[in-house]
Amino acid sequence: MKERTTRSFQALIMAGLGAFLLFQVVNGGITFYIHQRFVWLVVVGAILLLVIAQTLFQSRSQINEDDPHEHSDGEDDDHHHVLTPGWVLWLMILPVMMGVLLPQRALSASVIQNRGIQTGGTLSSNTQVIQVQDIPPEQRTVLDWVRLFSQSDTRAQIKGQPVDVIGFVYRDPRLPAGQFMVARFTLTCCVADASALALIVSWEDADSLVENRWVRVRGVLDETLLDGHPAPLVLAKQVEEVPEPSQPYLYP
């Protein structure tokens, strides 16, 4: 490939990537992938990409194709700075192609089979638990409840409190009939570190629910055993389907 052609492709790829990122920020899809607090960085990155692409376009007119130095077929083994080989250009289009060709969805329940799911455990510090205690019970999220439940002293206090949470349905194979999990993913940085949290829900029509659908669960908090460890259980009074929230993840 001639240098002029390579530069054109580089410019196109960088401009495409920049436009893709900006589009994701504008339509809100970006929060399917990364934590909200990094969105401004993505905007900076997208603008840089567009500026560099513009410079690449302009620089093409100054390329002298007859210069013997510039000819290379992209074999990059013996030099650091040579023209980018074709397969690398293609590789760099993949992120945009993936974003365009595949449905853009938040992580779904099938990930849990690989990663596991938490209903308790030591995932937060004491100060966080104390802050969560100040939230009225009806406004607590799945994450808040799991946090409170993970500390043995707060566990006793929250029993019997009213629960009103939303999450997606996950059918854990360890659960008996008449129970399901209402689950959320939490992100600290991006989807790669997402972990699933859930409350177990006991509800007479549990078997009629479809996995991955979003539901609002109202009931009273109780306790059960999962794999021999205490786990939070919601005795549901009402379970209704709701649309997926625009922000599907929780941020610890």
């Binding site: 580089q10 960088m14 990537l17 990122l21 994701q24 970006i30 399917f32 992938y33 990364i34 990094f38 960085l41 993505v42 900076v44 990155g45 840089l48 990409l49 500026v51 560099i52 410079t55 302009q58 620089s59 130095h69 510039e70 083994d77 013996d78 030099h79 650091h80 700075h81 040579v82 980018t84 397969w87 690398v88 293609w90 590789l91 760099m92 289009i93 993949l94 992120p95 192609m97 993936m98 974003g99 060709l101 595949l102 449905p103 853009q104 969805r105 938040a106 992580l107 779904s108 099938s110 990930v111 690989n114 990663r115 600290t188 940085c189 991006c190 989807v191 790669a192 570190d193 991955n212």
Partner: protein, 346 residues
Amino acid sequence: MLMRASKSFFQTLPWAVTTLLVFAALLRFGETALGGLPEGLANLLETLSNFSAVFLGIFIEAVPFLLLGTLASGLVEVFISREELVRWIPQRGVGSALAGSLLGLFFPVCECGVVPFARRLVRKGLPLSAGIALLLAAPVVNPIVIASTLAAFGVGPVFWGRLAGSLLIAFITGWIFSLAPPQEVLRDRSGLPLPPVMASLEPIAVPPLSQRFRQVLLIAADEFFEMGRFLVLGALLAAFMQTFIPQGGLLLLGQGAVLSVFVMIALAILLSVCSTVDAFIALAFTGTFTTGSILAFLVFGPMVDIKSTLMFLRVFKPRAVLYLILLPFLMTAVLMIGLNLAGVWG
């Protein structure tokens, strides 16, 4: 042999992934057109979109940092006079190794840029021990990588461990190299032409400022493609492992105090992810792997991997390259296994 085979694998990879994506797009079209898919195909589509979410998560998170790194590297190339700098560096022994390992704080280059950069500094009179320490420490101990590690892990044992471990290992290796005469370490200099982009930057006459900024952006573009490929490959592998390999199996590898460290070192070599973004990839392994092994990945990976070894071989004699790989390897392994066994992570 291995190089050739792996190269043809990487060259086919974009095609393979593209085919898969087109297939997924067809499935998605079928889903809308038919109003549903057979259960097996629907599950496949769900798995693929989870794969894509993890891949794009890593990639999008890392791209701004990669861009900042390439820009910084371009700025250093075009605007900093190295002769000036060399005057400030102690010329031998402990002092020069220490100075070399801290030099990255002022020159944010990641491991892809550091090899030509260090070579250039050594040619202009930087002591070899400082050059080696710079080579090993600069990819981690620099503002951009410090920021990305902070973004990924926050202030905590991983953050401090990465900085301290990298500094310590780079300093000791640089110090050891100060005992060797430079002609036994560096390859014949006449056989090392400067790359075209850098050669064109030899300051014959200082071009106007706008021209120099343009040059910075062009270097940044080249480096973006030079290093971006390793980011895409690394993110593909990480997303593949997260989506298709049950963590139960990984847990067996990841929880042993000794084994986990070697597994993560091997992974660091294989992935060859740029140090500006490797923190985000490492994040995917926290929870399944021991903290010591995560640290081994973050400390050793920027020093030695497939791509930097190739670059080492062009600059140093083979025996020197062997030491450059073995010394950091042994120190990382001993340090991290020791920390794991001591149970310092709580």
